[in-house]
């Protein structure tokens, strides 16, 4: 009997059920979409913030002071310390290895470029990068310098006779070089005198394969493949600087303390939080002789922007939840209030208050579960669509936003709201005298 009542109620009162159902459906859709977006917004914005480049820099501890003004390094050429490129594999073993999204090693030296043999010398910073992706760890110079605009192609290493080079736009102008022409590389006087002496006198031929426009100091530099530079300098496996991009937690007061001054337990907590400082600390531990520092300009500001935007999304999700809750419970209240006549009839036929309340709650609950589940899928789809539209062209943005954890959460919320919304109306209807209801509302 109970099930028949329940069934008939759904079959016969389709319009009323539709209204309440649509309210729940839309409410859960909005809430699911907002929550799904809010949980993924951190990663998405982090990807966007990658345009600011690396947030951690690693350099040899024993290195001399950088004497750089306006991008021109006037550091004395003698000495200089290096790290081993092969040591970078150890980054995969640190606690927060999965948070490291990009590693770009570089080896820079001061050289002289000539537009044609023995003419038109330009002292230049020559920097070797890894332009191709290494299958072991992502070593992408490009991922960490997204503001570089290239005309031509990136250099490939290991060419037999002439190495490939990409020139900064200003450098290319002052050399009078264009894509396809050859330029000649010499070491700056006295630099690295211990190695590869013949380059002091006999210039190395480079083929220009691209011109890069960066808007910063790279416009005055020459970029080559890291292996070529290592060979040219006779320094296999050497890197002078490594840029690291990592997903981090915005810095708070705890992040700034010196971990070595903490008691062991606190230190462990510090160590296991993805602060830029702790990741830098772990890099120092992993790579011998390396000094790792967060690049505060990027890191501090990024963390700030990230926490503001995701905070905003969470607060708006909360507002959406509240509004949807109100709207759904109002719709449920109306739906029950409309059916006072039915309640009066059932009671006059001898149904107990408990049985009637149970019937109505069962109806609301069923509706909430059906509409809530549907709303979850709709909302997930909507979030995926919105995310893909707004963050189009980032690659990887087509990821599904189906978050299974949200399903029970959303359905439970719909249930609670639907039942809470029905309660006052059911109680009011049950409290009234059946005969009054029936006479007034026939």
């Amino acid at each position: 009997m109970f099930f028949r009542l329940l069934m008939e109620s759904f079959v016969r009162q389709r319009r009323r059920k539709m209204l309440a159902g649509v309210a729940i459906l839309l409410g859960t859709t909005a809430v699911t979409a907002m929550l799904a977006l809010a949980t993924t917004i951190g990663d998405r914005i982090h990807k966007e913030l990658a345009v600011y480049g690396a947030n951690i820099v690693v350099y040899p501890k024993a290195d001399l002071l950088d004497v750089k003004v306006g991008g021109v390094d006037v550091k004395p050429a003698s000495g200089g310390a290096y790290m081993k490129e092969s040591d970078l594999e150890k980054l995969k073993g640190i606690f927060w290895a999965n948070n490291i999204t990009g590693v770009s090693p570089e080896l820079a030296f001061k050289g002289k470029l000539e537009g044609s043999v023995n003419q038109n010398f330009v002292p230049t910073q020559v920097i070797g990068y890894r332009f191709i992706r290494n299958f072991l760890i992502q070593k992408q110079a490009l991922a960490l310098h997204p503001w570089w605009r290239l005309n031509g192609k990136w250099p490939e290493g290991g060419m037999a006779d002439a190495s490939e080079v990409v020139l900064g736009s200003k450098l290319a102008t002052s050399l009078g070089a264009s894509i396809g022409t050859a330029v000649y590389l010499k070491k700056d006087n006295g630099s690295y005198a211990a190695f590869a002496l013949d380059h002091e006198t006999r210039p190395h031929t480079l083929i220009v394969v691209g011109i890069v426009d960066s808007g910063d100091q790279t416009d005055d530099a020459a970029l080559m493949d890291l292996t070529d530079v290592q060979e040219f300098l006779g320094l296999p496996d050497a890197v002078s600087r490594v840029e690291v991009s990592a997903r981090t937690k915005p810095e708070d007061a705890f992040a700034r303390v010196d971990p070595d001054s903490l008691p062991p337990k606190q230190r462990e907590i510090w160590y296991c939080r993805p602060y830029a400082n702790s990741i830098a600390y772990q890099i120092r531990e992993a790579i011998p002789g390396a000094q790792a520092e967060q690049i505060r300009r990027v890191e501090q500001s990024e963390g700030n922007v990230l926490s503001r935007i995701s905070g905003l999304m969470w607060l708006i999700s909360a507002a959406a939840l509240l509004a949807a809750g109100f709207a759904v419970s109002a719709a449920m209240a109306t739906a029950i209030l409309e059916r006072r006549g039915e309640i009066g009839l059932m009671r006059s036929l001898g149904a107990s208050k408990g049985a009637i309340a149970f019937l109505f709650y069962a109806e609301s609950g069923l509706l909430a579960i059906f509409a809530g589940t549907l709303g979850y899928f709709l909302g997930s789809g909507l979030a995926a669509w919105l995310g893909a539209r707004i963050f189009a062209g980032d690659g990887g943005s087509a990821q599904a936003v189906l978050i299974p954890v949200l399903l029970p959460v959303v359905v439970a919320l719909a249930l609670v709201v639907a039942i809470a919304g029905s309660t006052p109306s059911i109680r009011a209807a049950l409290r009234m005298d059946p005969s009054t209801i029936l006479r007034a509302d026939a």
């Binding site: 009323r16 209204l19 649509v22 309210a23 839309l26 409410g27 859709t29 909005a30 979409a33 907002m34 977006l37 917004i41 914005i45 966007e48 913030l49 345009v51 600011y52 480049g53 951690i56 820099v57 002071l65 950088d66 004497v67 750089k68 306006g70 006037v74 503001w147 808007g215 910063d216 520092e293 690049i295 505060r296 300009r297 990027v298 890191e299 501090q300 500001s301 700030n304 922007v305 503001r308 935007i309 905070g311 905003l312 999304m313 607060l315 708006i316 507002a319 959406a320 509004a323 949807a324 109100f326 709207a327 759904v328 109002a330 719709a331 209240a333 209030l337 409309e338 919105l386 707004i390």
Partner: protein
């Protein structure tokens, strides 16, 4: 029998069904409140985000050509062109030798301006602006200085002694430099400032136009944007903007449809009133007007209450998230009003087709 005025009927209808009127009013308040809160936040979003991005420091760099130093009034002119909201600082650079014989870049600048411009610098103690020889040591540079109390530097044979007040830590080039007051720097080296860093507020368009004006004002200088900052900023602001826009639409739609469902159900429920009035000689137009008026009164009351509630919510959200207050925007009121009135009118008119088909006699007889 007293004549029934429209106002009288409206009043009775609203008062007599208190519970119903109240729930409709709550629904309208919620819809107006949500719309107000979201639109208010939305209106302020760009300004707030751009303000966050100002923490990245300078987004425009003005460099003097190597042949000629900056003119003495250059900073004043830049400040004038860029406006009072922009912060600017000038820098002078020279390579000096420390007491341990290491070459080091020494920069002369105005500490007060730098503190405002580069809020990401981690400095343990800023020098007293009155002290002529207070200096900041970069954390790497400090390792190459023998005596930090009295930092002895030599530039082209001229010695100077500085007192290191604090250390800077930035992870960038600043770590290998020593910063000192500009006046003392010029006195010592005879080198004038060559770089002005400017933080221009606002989006890409306003940075672009400020740069154009700067180029016009200072034709001999090189005016360059810090490209990744300018581009990244407008990209992220645009995306957040779009995200917020989507959220506003989505939530407004949800609330609107739910409110519509509630209100139109309550209109439908009054089929008996409709039938009775029709039987007593009310015209179709009068009845529709009656329903419409009732819905409009509720909508207006909802807007009044919702604007207050929504503005309070927007204020709380932005205080919580951006730590700055968002004041109520009266400019969102017309849009909220329009939205609510549209919902109310649709709620009153939607069930009309059903009502028109009703036979008063049949309904009143209870069939």
């Amino acid at each position: 029998m007293p004549t029934l005025s429209l106002v009288g009927m409206l009043q009775r209808s609203l008062v007599h069904r208190k519970a119903r009127s109240f729930s409709a009013l709550v629904a309208m308040t919620v819809s107006a409140g949500v719309a107000t809160a979201l639109l208010t936040l939305y209106a302020d979003l760009d300004a707030k985000l751009h303000k966050e991005f100002r923490r990245f420091g300078a987004n425009v760099v003005i460099t003097a050509p190597a042949s000629s130093p900056l003119r003495p009034d250059a900073l004043g002119r830049v400040q004038q062109v860029a406006g009072v909201d922009a912060s600017a600082a000038e820098f002078a650079y020279a390579v000096a030798t420390t007491d341990t014989g290491t070459p080091v870049v020494v920069a002369g600048t105005d500490f007060a301006a730098v503190k405002r411009l580069d809020s990401w610098w981690q400095v343990d103690a800023w020098p007293d602006p009155a002290a002529a020889n207070g200096a900041l040591l970069g954390q790497r540079a400090a390792q190459f200085v023998g005596n930090e109390r009295a930092v002895a530097l030599t530039y082209a044979g001229h010695p100077v002694t500085l007192q290191a007040v604090g250390r800077i830590k930035t992870g960038g080039d600043e770590d290998s430099r020593i910063y000192m007051p500009l006046a003392a720097f010029t006195n010592w080296t005879g080198v004038g400032p060559s770089v002005i860093e400017v933080q221009v507020p606002g989006g890409a368009a306003s940075v672009e136009s400020t740069m154009a004006r700067l180029r016009q004002e200072l034709p001999e200088m090189q005016v360059q944007p810090v490209r990744q900052l300018v581009e990244g900023e407008s990209k992220i602001v645009d995306r957040t903007h779009a995200l917020m826009y989507g959220a506003v639409l989505l939530i407004a739609l949800t609330v609107a449809v739910s409110v519509l469902a509630t209100l139109s159900a309550s209109v439908l429920e009054r089929r008996r009133d409709f039938a009775l009035m029709k039987a007593l000689g009310g015209s179709q137009g009068q009845l529709i007007g009656m329903f419409l008026l009732e819905a409009l009164v509720l909508a207006l009351a909802g807007v009044a209450a919702g604007f207050v509630v929504g503005s309070a919510a927007a204020w709380a959200i932005s205080e919580e998230n951006f730590h700055t207050a968002t004041l109520p925007h009266l400019s969102v009121l017309p849009l909220v009003l329009l939205l609510n009135v549209a919902i109310a009118a649709m709620a009153a008119l939607l069930p009309l087709r059903v009502l028109r088909g009703l036979q008063p006699a049949a309904l009143l007889k209870g069939e």
